[in-house]
Structure formats: structure tokens, C-alpha cells
Symmetry: D2
Subunit: 328 residues, 4 copies
């Protein structure tokens, strides 16, 4: 198939590469001419504007927007409205808030333009491992785009098949290849959002566990109660045969094998919108999410030296007990 | 009544004072001679050793140990064993772990010595407000000591009577005066421990609330979404007519009235054993304590610049997404 | 002053009563004619429509809307737009989301109509205790309405003055009487929202504490490790001299004094919007709120027999360990 | 090598089988004669008592105790003391509390008997996948036992090698095969304990995520805000290329593929000691563990219909607001 890729950051560039490897033709556009040039050298066609991109595509034209969620994506989708015609398809492959997808899909539907949201997991590894994709949009349109998703997905690969997953009639074979049509517009990003929410929880579980392991050598503990544990070997040993083996553990093992002290990291941890939105979604549904929220809040806390709340605690303790704060 | 007070720190000294105001005679002992002298000037009798203290008391002799929980208390109770005789009474008014009380009471009972644990709340305000006391031990012994507790307790005072609390037969009038016989040895400190566990939770609830109020003026928010709130006035206004009025709020209001920025506090918040033991007790009972534990963990977190767990998170993020940490 | 009260539920009716006690004239309107009649008997004037209410008021006309947050309030404010004229004032005394206030104030400002949001705490006790009010709106308008707020507020009363609160120039005396001008439109409900968020946290802290106390008599514990504690007396004793005395504790003590088993309550706990919005506000500011969120989630959990998540846990345990679920 | 296996439950029996497959000779003992017979048929030698087992072994004799943690293990280790002689080795392969290991190792060392603790992960899958083992004890003894561990461990297998793990001098090759010598006695179970603590956190993260996905179809949401998501396909799609792929997800995918509603599970989730001990260890080190504790508490909550704390909340709400509980 032939499509335009709008936005050639790390994700957009690698998705373009993997599409081309799969035999697809990609017209590329980015404000950064160097990013365009790099991909042209690898076989993509350059476009110097959205209009130029549109003019190079057969109908129905397919625009894949791969930009940071929020203003960038919103603006670009708006601009594409002017370029697109009835029957054309706009794909948002970024990390948009799913309610924005629902709104955009409605607005575009009035113009006869299809909107597809693709929640994409895989990060810097996607080019080699393939991208796990959660897709929202009209069935007919998603089916039409199937060759693209098939090229991007990991495929069944060497991962063991799920035992109870039978080739029953009506069962969707795409899930085993690493992509699904999750539902109408917005459903793709909703599922991706929850994926990221879970990711935060998993990461924090490992983080707390390694914190306890490391703390066991603390000289604040009595001498007989300390162990000096090799965190690198522990991460490694859990990769085989344990209940907690995972890809995140693989990455942790690799990082610890490089430097058990993780000295290059100061521990100021960013969060993107998905963690926050996951908690909002849970609250809208009245679902208790103690772990997912705690994981998010731990990141907030990691980015400040102290909270005003901590000061309030100290002030109260001084007030009722005359307690003076601990020295640094 | 006449008793010996062992340990003249802030709590022991003030308890001695309030007992003397109530007409009781107190023999005082402390390793620090100055602390002894100060109270002698106020009417107490000095003892230069535990044995000397014992020799000045009528039988049954009453020893009130008011020392830091743990080794100090343990050692002193052990030494008192040698001085005490059948029928004598040892009171632990500190913050001992209740299982230590249970053990000590059994050991002393074999020697015919009574052991009473008194969980004491009131801090630096106790001298004036009176001490709230939660008492564990044999009924006969606790009854015998009643004049002491009555002198130390706040009394009914001006606090409104509880509506449904009828003067039914068998109802214990002591609770309304600010002290209770909670049960056998250990029960007093157990109830006091849970009191402190709740205290941590209450404090953290206020702390988080004020954090949100303060954060609402952050320049990270869009200009139209900020409020520049007067925290001092907010704490004050909640003291009357609101659902969240409390003594801890009174203290917060006073601290904020002095300095709305709480500049003298850096926010490194200590915790004593009770918060930790409360979580342990909850786990032994399989009671979910999301709030009490979170309050405790927030204090742990307040005392370190970052956790190793935070570094693990950053390392994973770099591993899967190439994400570089946020700048300071 | 003379004003119209729109909405005569428990809150609206009692606010009307307290305003009339303070010498103000109130025109009352409610869809429920009986509610109107009851207040007319107590001295209010009836209105059979918003228009009729408007026609009975001097200019600038003051409309106090006291309806459930959300659609009811939104609709009524919209209808009042048609009745109101330049200079008139619409007060929302309900529990609106503060961002709705900001929006409404802007819309009404374009018509020259003032909008004031009054976060009101006090519940069924407000008639007697007075209402704690957090007010948002233009300074001039809030000042104009001062006689109303003054009549509704608790006043300084018998609550001890805050030590560091000096009568400095420029200090607002209203906070000590139980009401504040928190800031522009929305600020009142924002502060009230955080008040409720804190309320959830405080309540959950007590709830967990009493859960531990009650669980200490569980026959799942070894015989020597149980205490059979009198929760009624414990709640009572903490009311005087302890660190955790509060109005919520007073209410708990009263409930336990009536029935220590709290048999009339099954434990399905509702939440209103404020708890949820508080967490959202915290997330917008990146403030960690482990306790406030946990308190909210505990309520969600209280209302379902089990979560699907719990089933997922059981399914995993069966998967890796062959563990069969615990019997009921 | 030749050793005795004490305890032929699911774990003990399968470990015996895997040892025999690896060429080792196993003398088996269990109170249940049938369990013994079954393994004898597969090539093991029966022992009718601990003494009989001891008599069949060469020196130094190796006893592998594979019993439930707590009393069973404690009693058996005590009985083995009588049978064992200087130089003999007792292995505890169960889930003992690591402080019990430290104590036992000291007691046995005085008799010249070696004690080795083996934290063993793998559950019902261990026979085929191999067991992940975390081992504590004296280096010389653990080295002596290496052939046993090597036979039980998964081996490097098809799992990708960790990139930064170089074959540097002194690096322990065992970690990549799935077992480690973690440190002195107790260190094995300590690491296994933290493994299980992390396991709880990971499981709860997935559980909450699937709860949100399922709740998105709730008819409590507005019609336009619902998605009817296929949880089975979502679990499957995340297995390839996503950030959250893991063995626990594989198991979840298998369970959902069998029955998307998980009807056979009521959601009453057990916990064993490790989750609890992990929190205790964290508290001893002052490490904040919001996620690991929340995961544990969610299990406690899953096993009761309501908490007394929930009733306390309802009682307070009735007290301040006259709020009547939500209907069932």
C-alpha cells in the first residue's frame, strides 16, 4: 500500500522503515528536513508539505500522523481536514487521549473522512521486535488497512501459543500476530492507555522489590540482619523459571548488568498522560486502582525534593510533641 | 498516693508535675541530676538510685517508668525486678510495643509483681490539657491506681458530652474523663499504638490536602486554571462548622498563622515504632490498611532524596523507550 | 437583605431558616410545593416560579441556588439567565465542580450578571452550628453579600482562638467567624472540594483504626494474642486530651455509643464528586495523594461484592500454582 | 548424588522426579504412604521413617525438607537434628521465613550440621520448565550440592541472553541457568520472599487494568462512553511486542481464552506469608512500598464481604450529613 507518514521522530521514522521493509510505499513529511532526507535515502518519498504529501497519494488517501499527543496532533489533524476528501483515512498513531479520538472521529465522519486510532507499543525496540498495536475505528476501514498493520506487527514468532486459544470459527487471528481491532474510534487508544497504566504498576512493583533487596545491606540494620545481595544476579536468575519473568525484568537485568548501582540515573521519573488518564477512567467506572495510582504518585514524588505536605507534617509534629525534624 | 517516677524527660517531668498538682507525692529518679533537681525545687523528692527510690516508698510500691521504648525501658524494668517485692507495681508509661508488655507482665507475675502499661497521649500539651491514657493490666491493680490516673486525665471539661452515652448501669465513667482500662497487660499500649496509627493517617490526609491547595498556584498550570489561595485563612475557616475540624487542624492553623510557607521545616518527617507496629497488627489480622500504611510510607520517602527504586524506573524507561531522565 | 432561595432540600431549607433568624427576608422556590409551604409557615415568602421570585426582589436581585450539583444546577442557572438583569447576582451554594463555576462566571459576566460560588460545609448540623463557607467571586460582590454570610457562619463562638493569629493590619477577620473569600469564581468550590477530599482521608484513617481494634478479638488470632476491646469507650476516651480528637471522632463516638456493632450499617459507602475531583486536581498538579485516593477507592470497593480484578488474581494463581480459591 | 526428600506434596514429588531425570538417586519419605509408593514406581527408594531415610544415605547425608513453612518444617528439622551427624546437610526448600533460617542455621552449626535454604519458584510448571532457585548457606556446602541445583534449574534454554552480561572473570554462570547462591543462610528465602512480594504487585497491576477494561462496558457509563472490549484478545495481543509481556500475562491470556468471564473464580484471593513478610522487611528498612502493600491489602479485602471500617464510614456519614447508605 501507499501512505503518507506525518512526523518522523523516533517512532515515526522506525514505523516508516518497518513499513518499507514490508513492501509498502511511504511518502514522508516532517518539519525537520533532515529527518525527511534520512528516510528518503532509505527509499521513502519526500513531501515538503501536507498538500504535497496528499498529492502523491492514490485515493483513498491514507495519512498516518505520528506526533506527540496534544496540540501537535490536534493541529495536524485539523490541517489534514483541508487536504482530505471523502473516503480518505487519517490514522493517529500517537498517544492521544481516547476522548479526543471519539470527538475527532465524529467531526471527520461529517466530512466523510475516516479516522483510525492506533495505540502503539514497542518503543525503540519496535523496528526489530515489531509493534504491538491496539486499533480503533470502523471495521471496514481497519480491514482495508490490514496489510499495513500486518507488516508492522511482531507476528506469531517464537512466543508460545496460548493453550486454550483454539482456532474456533469467528476467532480473530490478528491478536496472536500482535494487533487487534479493539472497537470503534477511541477504543484503540483506550486499550493502549490501560496498557501503560499497567506498565506503571508493573514497573513500580519491581522498583519496590529491588529497593528492599538493596536496603537489606543498609548499615542501619543490625549487623546480623544484613545481606549484601547481588542485584544483577538476582534480576538474571528471575528471568528463567520464576513467576515474575517479563520483558521489563529483562530490561532491568540488562541495566543492572551494565551497572549494578545504576549511577547514571538520578531517579527523577517522568510520566506521560496515560498513567493519569487511566486513573481518571477508573474513577469514572468506580474501579479501585490502589496499585496503578500509587505507581503514578511515586513518579510525581520522585521529581520533587520534598512536598509542602511533608512540611505540614513536620509542623504538626512540632505543634503537638515539640518534635524537631530529623537532621539531613 | 506516693510513687516513684523513673525518667524525667519532657513527658516524665510534666507527668510528675501534674501528679503533684493533684496532691500526690513523687520520688523522682533520672540519670541526669539536673532533671532531678528541677523537680525537687517544685516539690518532688530526689532519689539517687532505683534502690533509693524504692526505699522511700510505702508498700505496695509503685514505680512509674517513663523512658524511651526499647532498651531503656527493658533494662530499667529488669533492674526494678531486683528492687521490687511481691505486691509491688511497675507502670510503663512509655511507648512500648504491646507484645513486650505481655511478656513482661507474665515474667513479673511469676514474682508476684504487677505490671501496668499506660499508653499516654498528650505530648507537650499534657501538663495543661491533661493526658489521655489507655491502660492495660489487672483490674484490681488498675483500680488501685485510679487516683493517679484521675489526677493526670483531662477530665470531662468543656468538651460536649456524647449524645448516646447514657449513664447506664455498668458503664465506665472513666472514658469521659479521658482514661480507660482497655484490658489486660498490653491492651493499653495496643490501643495507644492504633491511636498513633490513626494519627499518621489523619496527618497525611491534611498534608495532601494542603499540598493540593498550595499547588493550585503553580506556574505549571495554565494561567486561567490557577488560584492563589491563602492557606492560613483556609486552615482557620475549617476550624468552625466544617466536617474536618480537629485538634490537628488547630495546630496546623497555628503553624500557618505563624508562617504560611512553613519555612523552618524542611519536611524530613520522623516516625516512631507505633506506625510500623500498627501495620504489623493489621497484617496479623488481615485487615486492609491502605491509608495508614500510605501515611507511614510517605514519611519514609520524605527522608531520602531519591529511592533506588526510582532509579530502577528510570533505567527501565531508558531501556524500552530510550527516555532520558527529566532534568532537575 | 432580601434574596431568593432556589431549592429547598435539607440544605436549602435550613440555610433559609438560618438566614431568616439573622433578620434576612427570603423568597423561596422549589418544585415541591410542600417544601415551599413549610418555609412560608416559618416566615418566608413563596414564589411559584423563577420569574415570580425575581419579581419580588429589589435590585440588584440575589438568587441563591441550592440544588444538587450537575444538571439541576446547570439548568437552573441557565433559566435564571433569562430572568436576571445587569447587576444581579447568582449564588451557587451546592457542590458544583469548580471548573463549571469558572465557565459560568465567564458566561454570566458577559451579560453583566455576577456569579458567586459558595462551598458550604455543615450538613444537617449547620442550622445549629452554623455553616462553614468557602466563597469564590468578585471582591465587590462578595463584600456586598457579607451580611448573608455573616448570618450563616458559626461565628467565633467558643472555639479557642489560634495563637499566632494576630490582629495585623489587612488580616481578614472573616476566617475566624467561619467563612472566607477564597478567590475568584471557582475558588470557593475548589477549597470546598479539597475539604471533602481531606474528609475522605480522615474518615478512612479512623475506619482502618477501628477495624484493627475490632479485629484484635478475632478468633483467627492465637488465644494469647487477642484483646476484647470496648470500641465505644475507646472512641470516647480519645475525645479528650488525645492527638486525634476531632468532630468526626465525636460523631463516631456517638454512633458507637448507640450500637457498638453498628448493625444498622451494611458498609456500602457512597462518594460524591468531590473525592474524585480532588484526585483529578492533584494529578493536574502532579501532587502525590496516596491517602486521599486510597480513601476514595476503599469506598468504590465497599460497594461491590468482588471485583473482576480479584477473579483475575485467582485465575493467575490457579495458573501458576494450581491454587484453588479459599472457601467462603 | 544421593539424597533424601522429606515431603512429597506437589512440589516435593516433582522436584524428586526432576532430580531423578537428572540422574540423582532419591530416598523418599512422606506420612502419606501413597505418595511414597507413587514415586517408588518411578524409581525412588522408599523410607518409612526419617531414621530409615538417614540409614540409606552415604555421608555426608543430604536431607531435602519440602514441607509447608511453619510448624511442619520446624518439627521436621528438629527431628532431623537427632538423625543427622557432623557434616550432614539439611536443605529447607519450602517457603520458610528467612529469620527462621538464620536461627536454625546457627543452632545446627553448633552441632556441625549444615543448613541450606532454597527459595524455589516454579509451581506446577517446575517439572517441565525447571525451578528457579535462590539459595542461602555456606559457600562450600552450596558448591557441593551444585549437581542437584543444576539438575533442577531451567538452564539457559531459549531465553535470550542479557546483553550487558559479559563472561567476565569471577561472574557467576549459575544465574543464567536459573539459580543463585544469594548469600549466607536465610538469604535464599529472603530473595524468594521479595520475589513473591513483587509477584503480588505485578498481579494486582494486571488485575486493576483488566478491571478497568471490563468496566468500560458498564451500563453506568453514558452510552457514548462505553466500549465493549474483548479481554481475551487484549491479553493475547499484549503478549507480543508490548512493554507488559510477561509469564503472568501468558497465564492470564490462557485463563481468559478458556472463559472470558472467569466464572469459575469467585475472587476470594489467598495470600501466603511472603507478601506480609515483604512489607515487614520494607518497614525494617524504611523503604516505601505503596504498591506491594496495596496488592496485599487488596487480597485481604477480597476475602470479606465488608469491613467494619466500611460500617464506621457509613455511620459517620449518617452522623454529619444524614446520608443513608446506598441500596444493595
Amino acid at each position: 500500500m501507499k501512505l503518507a507518514m506525518i512526523g518522523l521522530g523516533r517512532m515515526g521514522a522506525n514505523i516508516t522503515r518497518r513499513l518499507m521493509r514490508g513492501g509498502h510505499e511511504v511518502v514522508v513529511f516532517d518539519r525537520n528536513a533532515r529527518a525527511v532526507d534520512a528516510l528518503v535515502e532509505e527509499g521513502a518519498r519526500a513531501a515538503t508539505s501536507l498538500a504535497a504529501a496528499a498529492s502523491q497519494l492514490p485515493t483513498p488517501r491514507i495519512f498516518w500522523v505520528m506526533l506527540p499527543a496534544g496540540e501537535s496532533t490536534e493541529t495536524t489533524v485539523d490541517l489534514l481536514k483541508a487536504e482530505a476528501e471523502t473516503g480518505d483515512i487519517i490514522i493517529d498513531g500517537g498517544n492521544s487521549f481516547y476522548k479526543d479520538d471519539v470527538r475527532r472521529a465524529q467531526e471527520l465522519a461529517e466530512l466523510g473522512i475516516a479516522y483510525v486510532d492506533v495505540g502503539t507499543s514497542g518503543g525503540v525496540w519496535g523496528l526489530e521486535r515489531g509493534y504491538c498495536m491496539m486499533i480503533g475505528g470502523d471495521k471496514a476501514v481497519v480491514d482495508l488497512l490490514d496489510p499495513l498493520f500486518d507488516a508492522l506487527a511482531p507476528g506469531i514468532g517464537t512466543v508460545a501459543r496460548t493453550p486454550n486459544r483454539m482456532k474456533q470459527e469467528g476467532e480473530d487471528p490478528r491478536a496472536e500476530k500482535g494487533y487487534i481491532h479493539a472497537g470503534p474510534a477511541g477504543a484503540g487508544h483506550f486499550v493502549k492507555m490501560v496498557h501503560n497504566g499497567i506498565e506503571y504498576g508493573l514497573m513500580q512493583a519491581y522498583a519496590e522489590g529491588f529497593d528492599i533487596l538493596k536496603g537489606k545491606s543498609s548499615d542501619k540494620l543490625l549487623e546480623g540482619e544484613r545481606f549484601d545481595l547481588n542485584l544483577t544476579d538476582i534480576a538474571e536468575v528471575w528471568r528463567r523459571g520464576s513467576v515474575i519473568s517479563s520483558w521489563l525484568l529483562d530490561l532491568t537485568a540488562a541495566a543492572l548488568a551494565k551497572d549494578q548501582m545504576l549511577c547514571e540515573f538520578s531517579g527523577r521519573v517522568a510520566d506521560s498522560g496515560e498513567g493519569h488518564w487511566t486513573i481518571e477512567a477508573a474513577m469514572e467506572e468506580c474501579v479501585p486502582v490502589h496499585v496503578l495510582s500509587a505507581a503514578l504518585f511515586a513518579r510525581y514524588r520522585s521529581r520533587v525534593d520534598h512536598t509542602f505536605g511533608d512540611q505540614v507534617l513536620s509542623a504538626m509534629r512540632f505543634g503537638f510533641g515539640g518534635h524537631v525534624e530529623m537532621p539531613q
